[in-house]
Amino acid sequence: MSGTNQNYLTHPKGIMSWLLTLDHKRIGLMYLFGGLFFFFIGGLLALGMRYALATPEADFVTNDQYNSMYTLHGAIMIFLFIIPAIPGALGNILLPLMLGAKDVAFPRLNLASFYLYTIGAIFFIYVMISGGVDTGWTFYTPYSTESHTNVMGTTMGVFIIGFSSILTGLNFIATVHKMRTPGLTWYKLPLFVWALYGTSLVQITATPVIAITMVLLMLERLLGIGIFDPALGGDPVLFQHFFWFYSHPAVYIMILPAFGIISEIIPVHSRKKVWGYKFIAYSTLSIAFIGFLVWGHHMFTSGQSVLSQIIFSFITYFVGIPTGVKIFSWMLTMYRGQVSFTPPMLYALSFLFLFTIGGLTGIFLGAVALDIHLHDTYFVVAHFHYVMQGGTIVAFLGGLHHWWPKSFGKMYNQTIANICAIGVFIGFNGTFFPQFLLGLRGMPRRYATYDALGSEELVAQYAATHGSSTFFSGILGLSIFIGVMNLLWSLRKSNKLDPGTNPWGALTMEWTHTTSPPHPHNFEEEPVLEHGPYDYDKVIVQPTLKK
């Protein structure tokens, strides 16, 4: 860590040097800001929806507008934010640094992947301008083949983003296999790398199927090919198989990077060797694999065969076991450590709390008999927000706070960050916990209004629960917003850290072997491995920032 002041943010200069960059860190940053932008749009749509749902009638938006809002909210959050942007941002920035590599295996492909993401995003913006789309993010046929909204634009966008996702996955796989610095064996890899590796495997195996599904859907609209359209002798349930063969594994594309982030944050901020390294590493791979066998649990009421119902229900439970191993290992990592309550750690702890709720409610849904009651009610909505927002997004925010000083060489205001972390926790539970109750009482999802249910009592009950959910969603939105603004505010000029900074005293290579922000070529000298990523029992690195 010599004193040259060159870093990837300032060298080289100029807008073109960013747009044509092959540097994984810069591509990662572009993903980061792209993702945050769409998170913001998706979040605004969510708040609008919450506002509309606060009262039973359709007084704020019309039915059609509401239907378009929830579809765009779901599709944007999933296809433009959590699937591409999180591995794209944190993964891109960190993977080569953690491997001691100069770059990912295929830098050009990496840039191409980002541009495909951009093109896909443009399609989505076009869809928003041209009046939206109302099929739900699941595009079930035959509704999606006859809807008059812009289904073509959306499917095209998803198709293109799918390729972006495939290229990222392919790139990461080659990188992990071939670009590790000498001496960095598989069991010395940081767990975040294992997580990205698992994610990438899912990305390249599942994503081609969504690509072909989208093609078939587009052809169905253009040519009426009839494969999924019952009017032409096709089978709509087959479409659901196609869709979920991708989209169930896709939920593990969303959560595995989050698992990786948590596996980094907890040992570092507890200054303790991670508990059960190999279990965590292998559970990543087994989750990735088992995730391919359970897609039919989204179709328990579709009329698929009883045999499939039983098979899918059975295998679904098995995802819970490796996941549980992770949860317990993270918890035990703190045992005999030195836990500091920094912002990343607060996010990680709230992840443990929220994801456990989300995951366990997944088990409720996996039980066929119970899922028949709960399917397509707000119980499912609450489940997936607990795992996606409470799991992935909270972990992502934690990771962002953890690696922010690394990526930018700036430190945010930690007190504000801590307050926001608590605000997110409270706001989140307040928003989505009531939705479990709504779902149990039968409130269906994708309902623009609920004023004519034939029972005043029921309407009043739903309205009260929806009302409190809406109230807390304001707190949630505000906390996330201030949290992100706090990060952005730290980027101002006057705020600078020493390039050698290691604020948490971490031992992974991106902290110990390069500057913050890193050198354009990552490492000034070939990195030499001196210790494992979690050897807090052998090595002390003084945190450069004390609270």
Partner: protein, 246 residues
């Protein structure tokens, strides 16, 4: 840069040596092949399921395909696979001219393949053997014999054509339009791959002619080769599944 001075100019800066670069590219290529297999895989799933549901539809519609053209195309593709492999073999031995020739033959084979496909498609378009909603073919005999009730009956008996007495209209049984949807999408996607392959082979020819590829560095050719063999491999399945068995 930290490379020693001797590193060749085709080595990208982020690799340690040429071997790492070569191996990495190949691994990336194979990962890509996996995505290709699963893309086509989705269509194979559709094929399998509809075939299991409507075996008779597949049997009848299969008779409308021209085995000879399919067979010729199979032979053409296998030949092109051979020449592609030989192109790599030649470049490994630094026989640049030979390699170029082999690439050229491969390219011609691909062109021939697409030509034959074009003729096939053209014929089907003409007859109305189109995918989905646009399917309109009912068999040449039907159109001629239609006003002869007895013949209609015998035709119905033999050919799975349904004559609805109420509306007095003819329908084909068991939706052959879905067969044709699957046929056109699968062969069409395969054809698209052939066309992309042609572009890649043309690019290889340019690189080889310019001397950029040689025994010491032919990663591009190896990668395109893998792609091209995959195209062949998929056709190896499409041929019997569509043309031969019913």
């Amino acid at each position: 840069m930290s490379h020693d001075k001797s590193s060749p100019d085709h080595l990208y800066h982020h690799f340690y040596d040429v071997d790492q670069q070569y191996e990495t590219s190949k691994l990336g290529m194979w990962a890509f092949i996996l995505t290709e297999v699963l893309t086509f895989g989705g269509l194979f799933v559709a094929y399998t399921i509809y075939r299991a549901w409507h075996p008779d539809m597949f049997f009848n519609a299969n008779l409308l395909l021209d085995v000879n053209k399919g067979l010729i195309n199979t032979i053409v593709l296998i030949a092109s696979s051979l020449t592609m492999a030989l192109a790599i073999w030649a470049i490994q031995l630094n026989k640049r001219k030979l390699s170029l020739l082999m690439l050229f033959i491969t390219f011609l084979c691909a062109l021939g393949f697409l030509g034959i496909k074009y003729v096939e498609y053209e014929h089907k378009f003409h007859l109305g053997q189109l995918p989905g909603e646009y399917y309109s073919y009912m068999g040449p005999e039907v159109v001629q014999q239609i006003h002869d009730q007895e013949k209609i009956d015998s035709y119905i008996a033999s050919n799975n054509i349904f004559f609805d007495k109420e509306t007095n209209r003819l329908y084909t049984m068991n939706n052959p339009h879905i067969f044709f949807s699957i046929y056109f999408i699968m062969t069409g996607l395969h054809g698209l791959h052939v066309a992309i392959g042609m572009g890649l082979i043309a690019w290889l020819m340019v690189l080889t002619a310019r001397g950029r590829l040689h025994a010491g560095y032919y990663t591009h050719m190896e990668a395109v080769g893998i792609f091209w063999h995959l195209v062949d491999l998929i056709w190896i399945f499409l041929f019997p599944l569509f043309y031969l068995i019913g």
